[in-house]
């Protein structure tokens, strides 16, 4: 399968095995990386991509197998070893220090030091950081403390951090999942520059179009096994998907075809000082309303304001024609609003608790009998019904949420909110970081729910998802609603234009 060999591989993994508590995360994986190539690593969730990356960066040690660096066998026992070999990684979740400033974050672990005093060379530090930020086109003072930066800014700092190593191997673990298209384009051009300068890049993404747009070669993993490596130019997306899931998926985005009912949610002039301004829209029964925009367009803030997590300063909200004031999620819940948050692990689930307890959390009072006594049988029954309906795959309801795969975790979050029998469902990036199979299942579920009359507000940064699922599309930019399209008139280009509208100034 191997294409033309550019040069000697800089990194070669042979027969890597790794098990956690009896589960085989990697069952003999081979991998090869050459200087000056962008090598994509794809596979469904739980395929072992992240584990493989952690083996390379020394976070985990393999149970068996060999790592060859420039042909020499090496043992990487900790992230520092990896750094010394010139391996840098950008992780899915930003791994920054909120109390330190940007420059310190970029150079953490390898501060420039004065020669004799071993004192941190602050001026050099800030100059270099400013230079790196400029290279990335980032307009931020390197002395800004990281706490309070937006997700996209954090991601950029992460990238700057990796660049600061002059890394020979750069690993990007879903770097784009939180970035907007323009930011992605910027990142890609940076990546290409680095590649052309001879850096080897490992690129992980769920978005196949990115793999095809950026990568030179692609390696596919499935269930911890090595499936194959091929040149990107020699495969089609369908072939790749088949390699990943072992089947073909014809329709990733089943279209909903629902008659819309009355207005269930109306928002007028919603404003939160310094965050978003003057947001007005209507949401109908049976409608899926897409909310598009770049990261940092404050879509999540609007959703959280409606749900009462962080209430707005001004503006009115009507539910079923009644004006309401929502100061706490509890009140939103009582009005039949549910919110599936963007950050599944932090806000959606209680990882150390089991599936039942997670699912019943918002409606626990329903199982409380006299004196608050919990009817655990009724509780288990409810959990079982809903998880069966959503096809949650687990060994049992007693399994802890932390032991589930990303896709199943998302299903549990959905199950949790569906038990509240909401009439308005707000989904914030419902399929981010989810494998292709579960993604389709989620989309199908959305369609079904809408056809049963639920009103859905969906925030998504994936344009195909927005275009495929929404009946109507709202576009936000820098805290304002800038445009609105029906499904018929919407195109990728129009949305992008609206989303980036005036931001280039």
């Amino acid at each position: 399968m191997d294409g033309e060999i550019r040069s000697e591989p800089i990194l070669k993994l042979v027969g890597i095995r790794k098990a956690f508590d009896g589960t085989q995360a990697l069952a003999g994986v081979d991998f090869e990386l050459c200087p000056g190539e962008i090598h994509a690593l794809v596979g469904e969730n739980g395929a072992g991509k992240s584990t493989l990356i952690k083996v390379i960066t020394g976070v985990h040690r393999p149970d068996a197998g060999e790592i060859l660096f420039r042909g020499e066998p090496v043992v990487i026992t900790n992230p520092l070893d990896a750094q010394r070999l010139g391996i840098a990684a950008i992780y899915q979740e930003p791994t920054l220090f909120p109390d330190l400033d940007i420059a310190e974050n970029i150079f953490m672990g390898h501060y420039p030091l004065r020669r004799f005093t071993r004192r941190v060379a602050w001026r050099q530090l800030y100059d270099q950081a400013a230079r790196t930020l400029r290279v990335l086109g980032m307009d931020l003072d390197p002395r800004t403390r990281v706490r309070g930066l937006t997700v996209a800014q954090l991601q950029m700092v992460e990238i700057a951090k990796a660049l600061s190593f002059n890394a020979r191997i750069l690993i990007m673990d879903e770097p784009t999942s939180t970035l907007t298209l323009s930011e992605v384009a910027e990142l890609f051009s940076t990546a290409r520059q680095l590649r052309d300068a001879g850096t080897a890049i490992i690129f992980i993404s769920h978005r196949l179009e990115e793999v095809f747009g950026l990568a030179d070669r692609v390696t596919v993993l499935r269930d911890g096994h090595y499936v194959g490596t091929c040149n990107v130019s020699e495969v089609t997306p369908d072939e790749l998907i088949r390699m990943m899931v072992g089947r073909t998926l014809n329709d990733l985005f089943p279209k909903s075809d629902v008659k819309q009912g009355s207005v269930v949610l109306r928002v007028e002039g919603l404003t939160k000082e310094g965050v978003f301004r003057d947001i007005s829209f209507e949401l109908h029964q049976g409608e899926i309303l897409g909310l598009a925009g770049l990261a940092g367009a404050r879509r999540t803030d609007v959703a959280q304001a409606i749900f009462g997590v962080a209430p707005a300063d001004r503006g009115k909200i009507w539910v079923d024609g009644q004006q309401v004031a929502i100061r706490h999620p509890k009140e939103a819940l009582a009005l039949g609003i549910a919110y599936v948050p963007e950050n599944r692990q932090q806000h959606g689930l209680i990882l150390p608790m089991n599936i039942t307890h997670n699912v019943t959390l918002p409606i626990l009072q329903q199982f409380a009998r006299m004196g608050g006594w919990l009817d655990s049988r009724a509780e288990a029954q409810t959990a079982q019904e809903i998880t069966t309906r959503l096809d949650v795959r687990a060994a049992g309801l007693w399994q802890l949420a932390s032991a589930l795969s990303g896709g199943n975790q998302q299903k549990v979050v959905l199950a949790k909110w569906l038990t509240t029998r909401p009439r308005i469902l707000i989904l914030d990036e419902p399929t981010r970081g989810i494998d292709v199979g579960t993604k389709a299942a989620v989309h199908e579920l959305m369609s079904t729910l809408a056809s049963q009359g639920m009103a859905i507000l969906m925030i998504s940064s994936e344009l195909p998802e927005i275009l495929g699922m929404s009946d109507r599309i709202l576009v936000m930019n820098e805290g304002r609603l800038v445009n609105q399209f029906t499904r018929a008139e919407a195109t990728q280009e129009k949305i992008m234009l609206a989303a980036t509208g005036s931001s280039s100034a």
């Binding site: 749900f307 997590v309 706490h328 999620p329 509890k330 939103a332 819940l333 919110y339 948050p341 932090q346 806000h347 959606g348 689930l349 209680i350 990882l351 150390p352 608790m353 599936i355 307890h357 959390l361 918002p362 626990l364 009072q365 199982f367 409380a368 004196g371 608050g372 006594w373 919990l374 288990a380 959990a383 079982q384 998880t387 069966t388 949650v392 795959r393 687990a394 060994a395 049992g396 309801l397 007693w398 949790k416």
Partner: protein, 330 residues
Amino acid sequence: MTSLTKAPPKRFIMLSLLLRWEWLLVLLIIVACFVNASLSRYFLDVDNLFDMTFNFMEKSLVALPMTFIIISGNIDLSVASNLAMSAVIMATAFQSGLNIWLAVLLGLCIGTIGGLINGLLVSRLRLPALAVTLGTYALYRGVAFVLLGDLVVKGFPDSFIYIGQGNVLNTPVPVPLLLFSVMAVVFGLVLHRTAFGRLIYAIGNNEEACRYSGVAVNRIKVIIFALSGFMSALAGVIMTARFGSVRPNIAAGLELDVITAVVLGGVDIFGGQGSILGVVLALFLMGITRFGMSLKNVPGQVQSTLIGFLLILAILLPQLLRRFALRSRG
């Protein structure tokens, strides 16, 4: 894989039952009793054993809400000070002519308010509990001193003294022990069998997720801190009755003993894990160990040293052995 109704595998249940921390404590208690009995012929004496419990019932009462608080991911350092403050206020009210039972009620209210203040500061202002209760630790004790200074209040009626010193009817069971037993059952049921208890665990494991799920996190925090205040005041009442007098310096340093017991009882100091049963067992383990050592006239300093060792070893040893086994496996 399809149906999730099936019960966890038998081995899983067996293992999780066997590996319960509580068994370790039970074993330790049995051994402590065995050792004590073989070293001192005074140990295995029903009256002595019941009598011994007088000495740690106040701690035990406070340990129950402390379990809630630590499971919810917080801590309350102010319990002993709150105990002193409410006891002093109760006593001064009694001294100035208030009926003793009304004074008790007042004391309980004061304690609850003290807890409420902690709870409001922690939840509304989202301040770290450690910092807040460090402040009220000094403040509440300070209030006790301001009110009573170098004075003492005594001369409580016998009916009041009875709740701290008496036995139940004609049995050798001390009244505080009975009170604690009832409270322990109530707290255990609330924690393990009610929605409120479940939410305490949920908050301790992931407070943010609870907020997003519409859980009234703030209210629950305020309630458990108020509960802690109430129980501290109750312990203050018992202690006052046991001593037959109040001074502002009573129960100094009690908070550390309480936290030690809760942690020894298997409650995760970072929140989310633990049981009332474990804490009750730990309280008795500590009580029996201390009593045994006192019977052998081991000096006070050495006693607390041994409790310190016990605390660290109980957490360290299982870990060390596991690591040792892993290494020997390869």
